[in-house]
């Protein structure tokens, strides 16, 4: 055979070996991935990161040490827990929120046994009013964060209890319909924008109630939850658009996406876990060092939060006034303020209040500011003191109210609204029942705030 023939045979043989090697590597890689996948399916908890562990632990606690309280706290009947838990897990798996113009996000519509969110942006309550609101009712929109929205079943939320109490009290001439516009992570700026958007859309209630405090102090910088995601998406999108405009680079493959995919492969994940276990064994187990430590927040930051909160109230009332809508601003109870934490048995000792302790620092400052300079809004309700001297669990997790405490809070708000002439004259009875002046209501101490 000629030298040329020998060489071509050698090249063919080399290519054959190479292709076999490539195929064997690919097959081995696929097999290793499949094997890792099987292990992960069998033992899913070895993969769980901190945030997902928290979700599991949250629910697991109600099947463990908090089991005796769960039905009462969530306002469930005996035997409902399993289906409630199933619905919560399902809701968390599909994602709770979706995009909305200007407010940035909203709760996604859904219809379940315990969680029902209307496509119009509110959470249903017991005996939910029609949409658009009907003229035969006194319609009230309630705005707030997740404590207003409620983490328990639909009928246990503060707005639902408020409607129930107002209608059962027999103190109003017209039936009341309350719309729960509470949304997770919302604070006063988003609530004000949502209120304005509803007015723009022609949805004009008789009254609007803003239940705030907790989230305003959580989002101390006044930026909405997830702003960094929006900012990152915006700059990524802009960069892509610029590449697209520049044309030259628009045909460049997105290698970082391939990297993301490779990092998600079971083999890679297995390697990560092995690395974590080998090089930082403490990370996999809970240790006292991992216990949440509250960060200090300066007084100037807290004062800025208060100023923003009050400014939002002022703007919301100004707009409402132009539409003839009554507004009330309620400072909500929070666990860090005037509540004996001995009774806060739902508090996860590892995670603590998780930055929600800030409202505990901010409330005394807000109280002293409002005492010195009564707010220039008509209805301001300081409900933060109602937890004082209560020697019982009021929260079902770090910050959300139990079904029973929601009732107490709703009653307190309702009584103050009636006493403070919140309702229009055609709704109020001839002699509105005056509640006794509450030492907790600091507006009362200084007389009525003047409308501006």
């Amino acid at each position: 055979m000629s030298a040329y023939g020998e060489r071509s045979k050698a090249i063919t043989r080399f290519f054959a070996y190479l292709s076999h090697l490539v195929c064997i590597c690919v097959l081995l890689f696929v097999a290793a991935n499949l094997l890792s996948l099987l292990v992960f399916r069998a033992y899913p908890r070895i993969l769980l990161p901190e945030d997902l562990l928290t979700t599991y632990n949250y629910l697991a606690r109600f099947s463990g040490q908090l089991k005796p309280y769960r039905d009462e706290w969530f306002g469930l009947q005996q035997g409902q827990w399993e289906s409630w838990e199933k619905e919560v897990t399902k809701r968390l798996a599909v994602g709770l929120s979706g995009y909305e113009d200007f407010t940035m996000f909203r709760m996604r519509p859904c219809k379940g046994l315990f969680f029902s969110f209307s496509e119009h942006g509110f959470r249903n309550g017991a005996d939910q009013g029609p949409w658009p609101p009907g003229r035969d009712y006194c319609n009230i929109f309630v705005f707030g964060g997740s404590t207003t929205m409620g983490t328990g079943p639909d009928w246990t939320t503060v707005p639902s209890r408020l409607q129930e109490y107002l209608n059962d009290s027999g103190r109003l001439k017209k039936p009341v319909r309350v719309y729960n516009f509470g949304r997770g992570s919302y604070f006063s700026t988003q609530e004000r924008i949502l209120f304005q958007n509803l007015l723009l859309a022609g949805r004009i209630p008789d009254g609007a109630i803003f239940l705030n405090g907790l989230n305003d102090f959580y989002f101390t910088d006044g930026r909405p939850s997830g702003w960094n995601f929006f900012e990152r998406s915006f700059s990524e999108g802009r960069d892509e658009a610029l590449q697209w405009v520049a044309n030259r680079t628009s045909a460049r493959p997105k290698w970082q996406k391939l990297g993301q995919f490779i990092r998600s492969l079971p083999v890679w994940r297995a390697g990560e876990i092995l690395g974590r276990r080998l090089f930082s064994p403490s990370a996999a187990t809970a240790s006292p060092d991992r216990k949440y430590k509250p960060a200090q927040v300066s007084e100037s930051v807290l004062r800025e939060v208060i100023r923003r909160h009050l400014e939002n109230a002022r703007q919301a009332e100004a707009v409402a006034h132009a539409y003839g809508v009554s507004t009330a601003f309620v400072v909500q109870p929070v666990p860090g303020y005037k509540y004996d934490m001995k009774y806060h048995i739902a508090l996860d000792p590892l995670r603590g209040l998780g930055r929600h302790e800030r409202s505990g620092y901010g409330y005394p400052i807000m109280r002293s500011i409002v005492k010195r300079n009564p707010l220039k809004v008509r209805h301001f309700i300081w409900a933060a003191d109602i937890t004082e001297n209560r020697k019982e669990p009021l929260y079902l997790d770090a910050v959300h109210y139990t079904a029973e405490f929601s009732k107490i809070l709703a009653k307190y708000i309702a009584d103050r609204l009636i006493a403070d002439d919140f309702f229009p004259k055609d709704v109020l009875p001839v002699s509105a029942l005056k509640t006794e002046p509450s030492g907790a209501n600091i507006q009362e101490e200084h007389g009525h705030a003047t409308a501006n």
Binding site: Y99, F102, K257, L258
Partner: protein
């Protein structure tokens, strides 16, 4: 199994493995080849918007060359530097993310474009930031017609400051802040104003220039909402994948799909598809055809603007801020389009013709129910009977027309008591009564500005509500 069968299976495996490796090599080679091709001929990737940009610049260098310096308020020797800088600004993307308003202008400091990090465009003799009490501070809000696409000294706010300071009717120097932002309409402007108040930036006066973009964004959704929504959806999908991935270790397929879609082979396929689709469209209609007009949607736009103006007015009142609302001129309304030489017949007004249909509706609504704000200026009629080019492109004002518009606005502000008495040097001159300005229709503005807004709209225009 006999030796022959084993040999046969082995040869099939060997054949398949060769085929597999060859396929990978061919796929990689094709991608490399196409990538090189795209590097050499980037224009094949250009779509309609890019072609339009190129065409617009080309027209200014050819058919519109004799106008360009005058329209943009430039000296002939400045044109090239200006053109280069405008491309540079374009390369920044123009906007950056901002909470609640979705976006605001990027920070950029050039010779012709001076965009502050605080989100406003500089004017000539720009006032300090934060604004100081020694000046009469005006925040001016609007879309790109306010921001200005020419040099910063030709933008409306810059000319307004200049005109007011030269008019010698005010006891205090005026400082105007140009908060114009491309694609903004009244809802975003309102929120931007509120954000500034939250940040403690309280001006003495605010002016809102609107009309064009309110009718362009007919649904009331901000520019780019679809993109934001898509990002959110993708994020939710990623979160779901992330959940699954962490629970069961399943791979995240979405990034792989994204990667595959970005490969040159895939892009080439997209281009081929787009080209055949575009050809079909060109065959159907050679020129731009305006979209059909929905009258009910236009009425809703008017209603939304009125509500926004009312809300802004209420907020301004509690802060003792004078608020004025200017209804801007647009090419589709009371302007002889024969003089609109900058209009590209191939692309037309690209949806901006809607304001031309919407303005008469707005006018008739306001005739029946005057807007309940103290200062409303109907400036939409000022181009009537003007037989000259007033726009540098489909909708943006020439430097000369900007001056005309500013003079009109400033005179009306002074005459209508926009400035408090302690700021005015002497009693303000009355502007001549202009029939074209529609003042007769709008002069009956109510003094009772606290009347609920819902009574403003004619019955039947209200789209429901609790009352």
């Amino acid at each position: 199994m006999s030796g022959g069968a084993v040999k046969h299976v082995w040869s099939v495996v060997a054949y398949l493995s060769h085929l597999f490796v060859i396929s990978i090599l061919v796929f990689a080679a094709t991608n490399l080849l196409l990538w090189q091709f795209f590097q050499q001929y980037p224009a094949v990737l250009a779509d309609k918007k890019q072609q339009m940009n190129v065409e617009y610049r080309a027209r200014l260098e050819a058919a519109l060359a004799k106008w360009k310096d005058k329209w943009y308020g430039l000296r002939p020797d400045q044109w090239n530097a200006w053109a280069a800088e405008s491309i540079q600004v374009g390369n920044t993307g123009g906007n950056r993310y901002a909470d609640f308003v979705m976006f605001k202008p990027v920070a950029f400091m050039g010779k012709f474009y001076k965009l502050s990090e605080h989100g406003f465009r500089h004017v000539v003799d720009q006032g300090p930031w934060p604004p100081e009490a020694g000046y009469y501070n005006i925040f001016f809000f609007g879309g790109s017609t306010l921001l200005g696409i020419g040099p910063y000294w030709t933008a409306l706010p810059s000319l307004l400051q200049q005109y007011l300071n030269n008019s010698r009717v005010l006891a205090k120097p005026v400082k105007v802040y140009n908060f114009g932002t491309g694609s903004y309409f009244s809802t975003q402007e309102k929120i931007r104003f509120q954000n500034l108040l939250l940040e403690r930036h309280v001006p003495d006066g605010v002016v809102f220039l609107d009309g064009l973009n309110d009718f362009y964004f007919v649904t009331g959704r901000p520019s780019g909402w679809g993109w934001f929504e898509a990002c959110f959806r993708e994020n939710a999908r990623n979160a779901r994948e992330y959940n699954r991935h962490h629970r069961f270790g399943t791979p995240r397929w979405e990034p792989l799909r994204n990667f595959i879609r970005s490969l040159p082979v895939f892009r080439a396929g997209q281009i081929l598809g787009r080209r055949s689709h575009a050809k079909a469209i060109i065959r159907r209609n050679g020129q731009y055809t305006p979209p059909p007009i929905d009258r009910a949607a236009l009425v809703k736009v008017c209603q939304r603007y009125i509500e926004n103006a009312q809300q802004i007015n209420a907020i301004a009142m509690v802060h003792d801020i004078s608020a004025a609302f200017v209804w801007q001129p647009v090419p589709g309304y009371k302007y002889d389009l024969r003089h609109h030489v900058a209009l590209n017949p191939r692309y037309g007004m690209l949806g901006h013709e809607r304001s031309g249909y919407g303005y008469p509706i707005m006018r008739s609504i306001l005739k029946r129910n005057p807007l309940k704000v103290k200062h409303f200026i109907w400036a939409a009629d000022i181009q009537e009977n003007r037989k000259e080019p007033l726009y540098v492109d489909a909708v943006h004002y020439t430097a000369q027309f900007s001056k005309v518009l500013v003079k009109y606005i400033a005179d009306r502000l002074i005459a209508d008591g926009f400035f408090p008495k302690d700021v005015l040097l002497h009693s303000a001159p009355k502007t001549e009564s202009s029939g074209a300005a529609g003042k007769t229709a709008l002069s009956e503005r109510s003094k009772a500005i606290t009347r609920p807004v819902r009574s403003l709209m004619a019955p039947g225009n209200n789209n429901g509500g609790g009352k």
